[in-house]
């Protein structure tokens, strides 16, 4: 891969992250709970106000001193203290919530990629066939459903109605379990949220893969393979599928932002203790330091995922390295 392509993509990612940090900096100084406004209190003597301003660095100009300071702290992982969680550093609170979210989204992505790509390839290959009609129809419906809308009926049917799975949480409260029992317990709690996330994603991936395979079908090398007398299934597996997969790499990574944003709404329905549930708590308490940290983490992961996609794509497809 040429260094120029890589350099350009890296530069773009760095600029985007810088813009995200700058946005956080500006917003933090605009909002109602900002330190400047907290000091607009008639009971405070000018000396106290001046002392506090000096302590928080507010006596220095916004640019460059305060900005430099802010960037420095952000880069070293100091994102301030949570309001809701009684002064705990937000970095700790957010990191704690990331585990469950990564588990849910990671497993959901794997399931959705396997099934979504398979379904999309089947649908597109036999366009207008039975699999296509049913599969594409269902995909469009799931694609139109926010994750939480998929999750709510799952709870009503399988948790509240049939009592097969718990309605919420990640673990049962009873302690003193061996490893196997707690893994089983986690699995039981995971089934419904994971189903909701996977179903939502399968719809999206299947639609994209279908479009990609339909385009690939018309390529000359597929016609050649057919002319050579290869079996239909083999043409799909060996010739069309790998090529149709190429654009999917980018699409899956670009989609990641929507996945994270969507998956956090699924968490809310199941009170899954991840970033989504944390977001709602932060919103309800107007805990801005926490909210900003969540935004920063989600936004930066999305940028990194895009960068990864660009690099993988450049590696797989020599045409884009120019």
């Amino acid at each position: 891969m040429s260094g120029r392509y890589l350099g350009r993509k890296l530069f773009q990612a760095v600029v985007t992250v810088a813009a995200i940090i700058l946005l956080n900096f500006v917003l933090f100084r605009l909002m109602p709970g900002s330190p400047e406004r907290a000091l607009k209190n008639p009971h405070l003597t000018p000396e106290i106000i001046a002392g506090n301003r000096a302590r928080w660095g507010l006596d220095k100009p916004l640019f460059p001193d305060q900005l430099v300071n802010y960037v420095e702290e952000t880069l070293t992982g100091d994102l301030g203290y949570s309001i809701k969680y009684r002064g705990q550093p937000v970095t700790e609170v957010v990191l704690e919530a990331m585990g469950p979210t990564l588990l849910l989204i990671g497993l959901g992505e794997i399931i959705a990629i396997v099934f979504g790509l398979w379904l999309g390839a089947r649908s597109g290959w036999k366009r207008g066939g039975t699999i296509d009609r049913i599969g594409n129809g269902l995909s469009l419906i799931f694609y139109s459903m926010p994750y939480f809308v998929i999750g709510m009926p799952l709870i009503i049917i399988f948790a509240a109605g049939l009592h097969w799975f718990p309605t919420s949480g990640m673990t049962s409260p009873s302690g003193n379990k061996d490893l196997f029992a707690s893994l089983f317990d986690l699995g039981r709690h995971l089934v419904l949220p994971l189903t909701a996330v996977s179903l939502g994603l399968i719809g999206a991936y299947s639609i994209l893969m279908r479009a990609s395979i339909i385009e690939t079908r018309a390529e000359d090398y597929v016609t050649t393979a057919r002319a050579k007398g290869l079996a239909d299934g083999r043409i799909l597996r060996a010739h069309a599928f790998p090529n149709a997969l190429l654009p999917m790499v980018t699409l899956i990574a670009i989609n990641l932002g929507y996945v994270v944003a969507g998956a956090i709404t699924a968490e809310i329905v199941f009170t899954w203790p991840g970033l989504g549930t944390l977001t709602v708590q932060a919103l309800a308490a107007r805990d801005y330091p926490l909210l900003q940290a969540i935004f920063l983490i989600v936004a930066v992961s999305v940028v990194l995922a895009n960068l990864a996609a660009d690099i993988i794509y450049g590696y797989l497809d020599p045409r884009v390295r120019a």
């Binding site: 773009q12 600029v15 985007t16 813009a19 995200i20 946005l23 956080n24 917003l27 605009l30 909002m31 109602p32 709970g33 469009l140 419906i141 694609y143 139109s144 459903m145 926010p146 939480f148 809308v149 709510m152 009926p153 709870i155 009503i156 948790a159 509240a160 109605g161 309605t167 919420s168 479009a211 385009e215 670009i254 932002g257 929507y258 994270v260 944003a261 969507g262 956090i264 709404t265 809310i268 329905v269 989504g276 977001t279 709602v280 919103l283 309800a284 107007r286 801005y288 909210l291 900003q292 969540i294 935004f295 989600v298 936004a299 999305v302 940028v303 895009n306």
Partner: protein, 315 residues
Amino acid sequence: MSVTGIAGTELGVGRFRRTGQQARDFAGRILGRSDGLVGVVILGVFTLLALAPDLFVGPLQTIVTATGKPLEPPSVVHVLGTDETGRDMLNLTVHGARISMTIGLMATLITIFIGALIGVLSGYIGGRLDNVLMRISDFFLVLPTIVLALILAPIILDIIGPEAEFLGIRATLLVIVVVIGLTSWATTARVIRSQVLSLKERMFVDRARVIGSSSFRIMRRHILPNVVNLIVAQSVLTFATAVFTETTLAFIGLGDPTAPSWGELLNSAQSSGAPGLGAWWYIAPPAVSVVLVVLSFTLVGNALDDLLNPKSARR
């Protein structure tokens, strides 16, 4: 590539002329596709409900004017049951159509306006302006609306105060509209820009330039009319996304409790514990409505895109 049915595109006459016959042909082609027909019918029903909700179910019920007991299952009196304060779900869902679709429409107008403006300017003028505008659009393409809205909406809301009103619209709703609009124009801008890039090389643009038309005039009279097709298809697709986004934002608690959109209804269903209680009638009506509207807009949008967008990959 057949773009018949739309006058001006191939002729290069900078005007958007369409005779009655051509419009009928075009409508026939949309309705002739099963997905287009299903989409248009569903949209027709919901638009009707949204236009005159009072006519169908009476005025919006509040906690004070609620007509039933809390969380009643569906019955003859309350066909879709009641919510946790005893309000009739049919009443709420029909009024929700008006709120959800109005927000969706306003957000779409802002998105398309910004997207078309930036797309045309960036594509036609090019050079450094194009570079800057496209880098900005990269930022918004990478970060999805919901992620940005998560941080922008509550802060803007706290700055102006939730009780503020503009033109009779409560700030909460307006903030959602503006945030969706400001963060989702990038796709539209990209689509339109790429079409403008190819239009600008066409003969009729050169002719206009030779006879001394100003850039502004060329963009307004020759470029814009030729991307109207794309704008229409994009608007319909954007509307689907806007309703989807509004539902999500309202669900996570950024909505206006006094204006129950479908997302807001789902939010109160969630916070009143309806899923765990098995109160399916509280969830099904708004959920099904959202899915039907988003789905039908997607169907119509895709059908339009197939017919109107020369670069559509879906043909």
